[in-house]
């Protein structure tokens, strides 16, 4: 019997033979979208530094990807990645982490990196819940959903992440769900090519925790829910706010050009050096 190797296996560390994700998790779809995007752009893993925080999705690049990988403390991967990018402005620096990591404990770093416009590609996995710690309410949990820490239903309003980051100044912002792997791959490629801060929000399924809390159940059911409730941003802009209740707006929220921080630093230094010489 011949053995067929996964076409993306060449991008992973050979001694890593399994992942830490649960059956049905969306991490695998995102991991493949990232690696396929890198392959389609013809980029080398040695030109990447992957930075992740704490949470299930932080395990997407670390330790799996065969590249420099920095697994940081909870909420801080963007702060770490900012130092990496300013130290290595020629490398691609990608942050992969979750909604709890990047919008709760690390929310300030997210909006400030968008404001600075530093060339990081952030893949933000939004599963609407804290998965790894056992299903607690996240800043993305819809109102009324009963989680382990909101047993009477969440009383709070969730973040709408993509438009928030666009408002903070990011020049490229897109949102897709794990039902949209091709669109997701294209958005990641575009984010990598964007000379500036790019956010790709991935609405993903956590059948183990959020499937239970939302009563959506299995991974297949959640993916069906994504399919049936996704609305393209172009269409959503024509709709009344009330009609968008419970819908997932997907597409590109922002795609502009603006001066980028690591390039600005390279320019400032070379102009200072000329003055010095």
């Amino acid at each position: 019997m011949s053995v067929t190797e996964h076409p993306l296996k060449k991008y992973t560390r050979s001694h890593i033979t399994r992942t830490t994700t649960c059956p049905g998790c969306g991490n695998g779809i995102a991991a493949q979208a990232i690696l396929r995007g890198i392959e389609e752009l013809g980029l080398a893993m040695d030109d990447f530094v992957f930075v992740s925080g704490i949470g299930c999705s932080a395990w997407i690049p670390s330790p799996l990807f065969a590249a420099d990988t920095l697994h940081t403390t909870h909420g801080r991967p963007i702060a770490f990645a900012t130092g990496v990018k300013l130290g290595l402005p020629d490398k691609n620096v990608m942050v992969v982490s979750g909604d709890g990591d990047l919008t709760a404990i690390g929310g300030n770093h997210l909006i400030h990196a968008a404001r600075r416009n530093i060339n990081l590609t952030v893949v933000l996995m939004n599963n609407s819940i804290y998965g790894m710690t056992g299903g607690q309410t996240a800043p993305t949990t819809p109102r009324g959903v009963k989680t382990i820490t909101s047993p009477y239903g969440s009383l709070e309003h969730p973040f709408d992440i993509a438009p928030m980051v666009a408002a903070a100044g990011a020049p490229y912002v897109a949102r897709w769900t794990t039902y949209h792997p091709r669109q997701l791959t294209r958005a990641i490629k575009k984010g990598l090519q964007k000379r500036g801060f790019s956010l790709v929000e991935v609405i993903t399924q956590c059948p183990v925790q959020y499937g239970k809390a939302s009563k959506l159940g299995s991974a297949v059911n959640i993916l069906k829910h994504f399919k049936e409730n996704s609305v393209r941003i172009e269409k959503a802009r024509q709709m009344e706010e009330g009609d968008l209740e419970g819908k997932i707006v997907v597409g590109e929220f922002k795609d502009i050009e603006k001066a980028e921080l690591s390039e600005e630093w390279v320019n400032l230094r070379s102009s200072m050096m000329e003055v010095g010489a």
Partner: protein, 385 residues
Amino acid sequence: MSRESRALSGTHFEMGNWGCAEGAIAAGCNFVAGYPITPASEVANRLSARLPQVGGVFLQTEDEISAICSIIGASWSGCKAMTVTSGPGISLMQENIGFAVATETPLVIVDVQRMGPSTGVPSIGMAGDMVQVARGSHGDYQIIALCPQSPQEMFDLTIRAFNLAETYRAPVFLLADGFIGHMREQIVVPPQEEIALTERRVTPNGGSPMDRQDFLDVNVAPMPVFGKGLKAHVTSSCHDEHGMRNLTDPDVMHRYVMRPIEKIISHRDHIVEVENDCKDADIALVSYGVVSRSARAAARLARERGINVGTFRLITAWPFPDREIRELAESVKRIIVLENNTGQMFPYIKAEAAHACRVDFLGPQTLGQIHDPDYIVAKIEEKEA
């Protein structure tokens, strides 16, 4: 700009914080991140102008957490990286100082201490962070911390802090305070070629981390810095010598905690510096930082009055100079520990000294004010009586 032209060689009359900034420049620092805070701001203010002139980057972050994280990221990118703050900033940084310890990341952290607890008094120096820099992050670890006594030492010890950080792949503290930071004195900056600098050992060739030892070498593993195709794996979670996470093997857990500690302790003779001026003295005034200036003045006054007093200064606060204190205690009749706090280093000193001599603590008349030498002498006479 070449390294030769970085140091502002010559004699200057400047603040301690100026000395720290120029020490960093002379040491080859090329990445600094910080958040404004009194009484440390002058260091960052000056570096924001100086770093671009020498090819470096200054990043003003959204908070001190971002500052420590971004300098760790920059250090892994191969930069000589530093942050500068005061006690409240150190409190915010603590979790990620532990990250730097666990991932063996060379860093310099400047703490220009001020009166606490909490927001306290920003402009008044007080040695309030002596223990928090050594014990403030969770878990067991060892740290290196140096205590300058003058603007000149703000320059000299900043360079030494970088050299120790690069040698041992570890975060190193410069523990100044608002008095030293804002004090103006002569600072002599030597010619660049006379400034000895140490650079980290970098992993020479690529391949897989599974074929290398990237971490947990008591004699300091070469650092697999990013961007060189080394495919380094860096995590502060319990990891093995390759950097790979391991939460199942008790032997790996033991090594993960112990090796970074042994790395510091087994080289303590190279790290620890003290200034012992207690030859034939009966009484030793033990102090560090700005208070040591009062201690010296008090020792002179006391000797004029016929009391045989000497001084002993901790230049290195951590790793704690245990053997040096022990030897001192065995050579004098009495030790008086002078600190501008309520006795943070005192228990550590007493633990090493009490077997051999009497050990007392003396804070300043008013906390936050430097000890008056006359007050120290009066207290010596009172207690001798």
